[in-house]
Structure formats: C-alpha cells, structure tokens
Symmetry: C2
C-alpha cells in the first residue's frame, strides 16, 4: 500500500542487494516512517522480539527471511567443513523462540526448512530459502487480495442501497496491511472498494491499551486516501446505535471449527453492539488462522494476560522520541487481558480467501475439504 | 470517605473560618491530594470551570456555596447603599454559566436564591445561604447513603449464594464519592457493603478518554480499603463472559421517564455484555437525575461532542506535573462522543434513594408520586 505516495510492502529484499532484508519499523509509527535493514538472522530475531515487525503473517514471513539470512551467514563465515544441519537447527530454534506464541512463525520456519533440506549444495539451499520466503509473502498477498475482493462485493451491495453511496465500516485494532504483507485482512475490503471507486468511511476504534487502531489503522488509511474517524472503544456502541455504521469488519487471531472468533480484546463488546443494532459483523480470516482442533472458543482458547504496564502507562510522542507516561497512581492494581472470543452466533460471516462462509462447523469443514 | 485514613467530604466550610469553602482539587488526583481554599464566589466559579470540582451533585453544591461567598463579599466590600438584588442576580448569572450544561448547578443556585430573597437583612441572607448550601450537601449525602443501603442489600443476597462470599461488581467511569459529596451513587452500595462486613471486589473500567475509572474510581477504592482491579474498557466483556462478574453498577447523568439510562460513553456496550451473560445491570440514580420530560433516550437526549484533544492526547504524570502526551499523529481525524444511552430493556433495576425500581414508566411515575 501507499506511504507518502509510494508503494510499499511491510517486508522485502533490497532491490540492489538481495542479501539485505528491509522492513518498516512499526514501533516508530505513526510518528516516524523508518525502514530497517536486516542483515543477519539475528537482526530479524531482534526485530521480531522488539515488535519492529508484528502481525502473525508478517512475523511468519520475517521468520522465513531469517532462515535465508542464516544460510547467507553460513556461506560468509564458514569456509571449511562444518555441520550445516546442526547450525541450521540451532538457528531455527532461536528464530521460532523469538515469539513463542506466534503460530505462523513456526509454520513458516518449518516450511522453509523442508525445502532447504531437499537441496544438496549450500548455494542451492540459499536459493531455495529465498524462493520460499518470497513465495510465503506472495501467497499471503494473494490471500489478502482475495479476502479484499469478497469483502468489497459486500460493501458494493450496501453502497447501492444508500442514498449517498457512502459505506461506513467500523473496525477494531489493526488488521490492515501493516499486520500482513500487503492489503490487510479486515482492511483489504476497504482498499479494494476504493480501487473499485466506491465511497467508504471507516470508524477506527482506538483499541486500548496499545492503541493500534489510533496509531496504525488510522495512519495507513490516511496514507491511502481513505476517509476515517478515530473514536474511543467506548464510542463504538454509540455510533452503531445512531445509524452511523453499515458493517463491522475485524481480523481474527484464531477462529474455531465452530466459527468462534478470537481477536484483540474488545472485539466481543463491539460484536454485541453490532448484533443489537442489526449491523452485519464480519471477521476477515485467512485459512491459516483457523484452528480446527477447537470447538468452544470461550472455554478452550487460552487468553494471554499481558503486562499491566500497558495500561499503567500510555505511549506518547514528545516530538523526538516515543515515551511512556504514567496515567494512574503507581500502586494501582491492574489486570490486562489481551484477547477475547466472539461467539459464532454474533458473527454474520467469515471472509476467507476462498469466499465468505457462515460461522458454523459445516461451512468451515466444507471450506477446508475444497481447499 | 477516607483519604490517607482521614474522613473527608468533597466540599465543606473551614472549621476555623466559616468564610472559607474547602474542596478537594480533583484535577490533581490521583497523583496529588490537594485541598483548595475558595474565598470568593469567583474562586468557586474558576474551580467549576477548571474542573477542580466535577460531578453534577458536587457542582450544584459548589454553586450554592458560591452564592454564600458572594453575599460575604457584599458585606466586606459595600459599606454604603447598593443594589443587593442586582448584585446577586449578576453573580448568580456568572455562577450558572460556569458550566451551562450542568442541570444541578442552576437548580442549586435557584434554590438558594429563593431562600435568600425571603430574608430582609444582609446578615440574614448570609446565614440563610450558608444553611441552604449545607442542607443541599446533607440531602445529597442522605440520598447517596440510602442508595447505598438498597444496593448493599442486593450485594448481600448475591454474597450469600457464593462459596467464597466475594461479590464482583463491575463499574464504568467515576460515580463514587468524588462525584458527589460523600458515598457516591454507583459506589455507595460497595462502601456500605464493606461497612456491613461483606467482601467485594470491583472491576474498574478505565473509561477512556478521560480515564476517570483508572484515575478516580481506583484511587477512592484504594483509599477506602476496597479490593479492585483496573481493566481496559475493552476487557469488560471478557471478564463478564468468563464468570468473573456478579453485577454491574454505573451512575447516570440523566434517566428518562421510560427508564433509558444516559451515562458516560461506553456504558451501553458494558450493559450489552452484562445482558449477554445474564449479569444484573443496575444504574444508581438519585431522583434529581431523572428527566421525566423524555421518553426515548436514544432519540431525544442530545449527546455532547467534546474536544478531540481528549483522544489525541493522554494525560500523564511526570513526577511533578500532569502533562499531555500525543498518542497519534497530529493530523489524525477524530470524533469524541461524551455519553451514550442504555435502553431500559438492558437495565435490571434503578437504585434510587427511595428503593430499587424497574426501568419502566409505571414504576418511575409511582416513585415520583410517592416522593
């Protein structure tokens, strides 16, 4: 998508030097736009750990590039005989432990390792790794674009029924292109609607405690010429109740076999407000984000309790640096739950790269049988 | 209630000098505890304007004391003949325009003016004004304590059914003693439950954008030895969905003839989550906060759109001062809705000083007939 009028993806290899992986430093957004150059697998591991890159699909892609860079390092450093397999398995262990809960990270590293193992020469392995990392990115972009097309068709239908044609989409957190490689999941329908000449306005819930809505979603919409308004998470109910929202689209970190949607904390309240006002609630879910082993999302999905500092302090920009400001007294007792589960009954549809399906076991099983 | 182990009300006249009105500076909370001395009606007007005092009943009481101070000023300044009536009506105009939307402010000023007018001498007027200001405070304290007793009985019943006896109450914003003179509205049941030896834990939604939950509610609970946990507004649904909440109690800025509850933005989403999880949702509403002229809260109550700076910046404490930190990019588009309306169908009961009633026209009319 566009940044300052120029096309970017969230991660790529340098045009002039394929040995360098470039990524947008998401820690600096929206206050600064900085591209980091990752020259070793260690650089990538640090970038994952420090959340320079974030979002499950993007972390997966970064992990894949990290294996590629590890192989390049082997070529540079080890002239004599050494145990490449042992070296690689140690590196892969380091990479996947950078964010142990990120399912996509292990998946991507395993995938690339499989391809690399089949190659006999070091150069063959390097070429295979690069090819596979690029394929992981390309596949993700394609999946997101397809999600975008299916979602755009829903927007188009709503637009046709409206006097001014403007479709008001409400979203929570950031499931835009910054969380993936390009287009996004929840925001892909919005970007493709704009491509098709449709008029869209997005209500962006700020998404406490980390404010990914206010910081990332608003920024990427602004950069791509989409009309939007940031509101507090609290105000999501108000705008829905007052006829100012036509549909809700969010992402999902994990979706069960029965269509329960686990996503950033607050999604559940937002879904309830949509339901109460008969506003369709969609989750944009790439097939890789389904967990078919789980039937009851509320009971079975473990919810991460995160550092209370995220609530105790609010990140702010002082014109030079991003700092942490104390927003309540230091001895205050706080609990910080990271995700919640929206039961399938509140989900109108799940937008996947293969089409929009109903949130139930039959539809989800069918999706995977045909997939 | 207690602050550092000592009993306070939010506003009072100095024990040693009845010509001075004291109030807790709520702008400094929870980072500093400061008592301001208000020596003239102008001091009080500034305190209302700058939100040193806040909360409808407290603003009303402050307005009443301001009339009293205006009369004392007249005694000090004007030795000769002057038009006291004209002076008073000008002062009262200034006082009520300090926060034009605060219904209680005009109500209190009118009330005190009525009493003052009946007195012939200046000293008689001064004495009547002080007496009436004190009566407004006393009546408010009594109403809140009654609300507390009715609410406490609900807590007691829930406690009896629980194995560990601990009742988990969730609240939004600050409807504690800091918003009134003592006890609070939503929090009065919690304080009276503690008085009665019941065990209570309060989930405090932080309440963006102004964080009155995290800053004021958490602080007053901490000071009064009540167990609590601050959570994001987003997490309110999660804790309810996971069996961690027994009842919800919020305040209300305005309650309609039909039982619709207008309150701080986000209350509606919280009520929906309570309803979805079969958790009783109560609004604590002094009879002075009903607006019997309104039938449909969502359609008829005008909702204030406040400064976008409240969302653009987060107040933080740097160890010395409270400052404003930028939390997104400066050109971001923002809308800031201040209140929302929870339809009566999601309200289990309204706790008033005369008892707990159902949120419907019949019960509300009956309450006022008997009142």
């Amino acid at each position: 998508m566009l940044v300052n009028g120029k096309k970017y993806m969230t991660i790529w290899t340098d045009k002039h030097n394929k040995d360098v992986v470039c990524a947008i430093n998401q820690n600096k957004l929206p206050f600064g736009f900085e591209i980091v150059k990752l020259k070793s697998s260690g650089d990538v591991i640090d970038a994952i750990k420090n959340m320079v890159v974030r979002g499950a699909p993007l972390i997966g892609a970064a992990g894949a590039y990290s294996v590629y860079l590890a192989l390049l390092e082997a070529k540079r450093k080890y002239k004599g005989a050494f145990d490449l397999n042992e070296y690689l398995s140690e590196k892969c262990e380091l990479i996947t432990s950078a964010r142990p809960t990120a399912v996509n990270l292990r998946w991507a590293v395993d995938l690339i390792l499989e391809k690399v193992t089949k190659q006999k020469t070091l150069q063959g392995k390097i070429d295979a790794a690069l090819k596979m990392a690029e394929k992981i990115c390309d596949d993700d972009v394609r999946a997101c674009r397809n999600i975008g097309m299916y979602g755009r068709d829903v927007i188009k239908k709503i637009s046709a029924k409206k006097k001014d044609g403007v479709v008001n989409v409400l979203t929570h957190c950031n499931a835009g292109w910054l969380a993936v490689i390009d287009y996004g999941t929840a925001l892909a329908p919005v970007y493709l609607a704009k491509e098709a000449g449709l008029k869209v306005h997005v209500w962006v819930e700020e998404t406490r405690p980390r404010n990914q809505g206010a910081r990332l979603t608003a920024w990427e919409l602004e950069q791509n010429g989409i009309d939007y308004s940031i509101i507090t998470d609290n105000a999501g109910g108000y705008v829905m109740q007052n006829g100012m929202v036509d549909m809700v689209i969010t992402g999902s970190d994990r979706t069960t076999l029965t269509g329960d949607v686990c996503n950033k904390i607050g999604t559940y309240k937002t879904a309830l407000a949509a339901y109460d006002n008969k506003i369709p609630f969609y989750a944009s879910v790439p097939m890789s984000s389904f967990d078919l082993s789980i039937r009851d999302g509320v009971k079975e999905i473990p919810i991460e309790e995160r550092s209370t500092d995220e609530i105790m302090y609010s990140e702010y920009y002082d014109g030079r640096d991003i700092k942490k400001g104390l927003i309540t007294f230091k001895t205050a007792k706080i609990r910080n739950f990271g995700f919640d589960v929206t039961p399938a009954k509140y989900v109108t549809g799940i937008i996947t790269e293969k089409g929009i399906i109903k949130p139930n076991e039959r539809s989800i099983r069918k999706l995977f049988r045909n997939g």
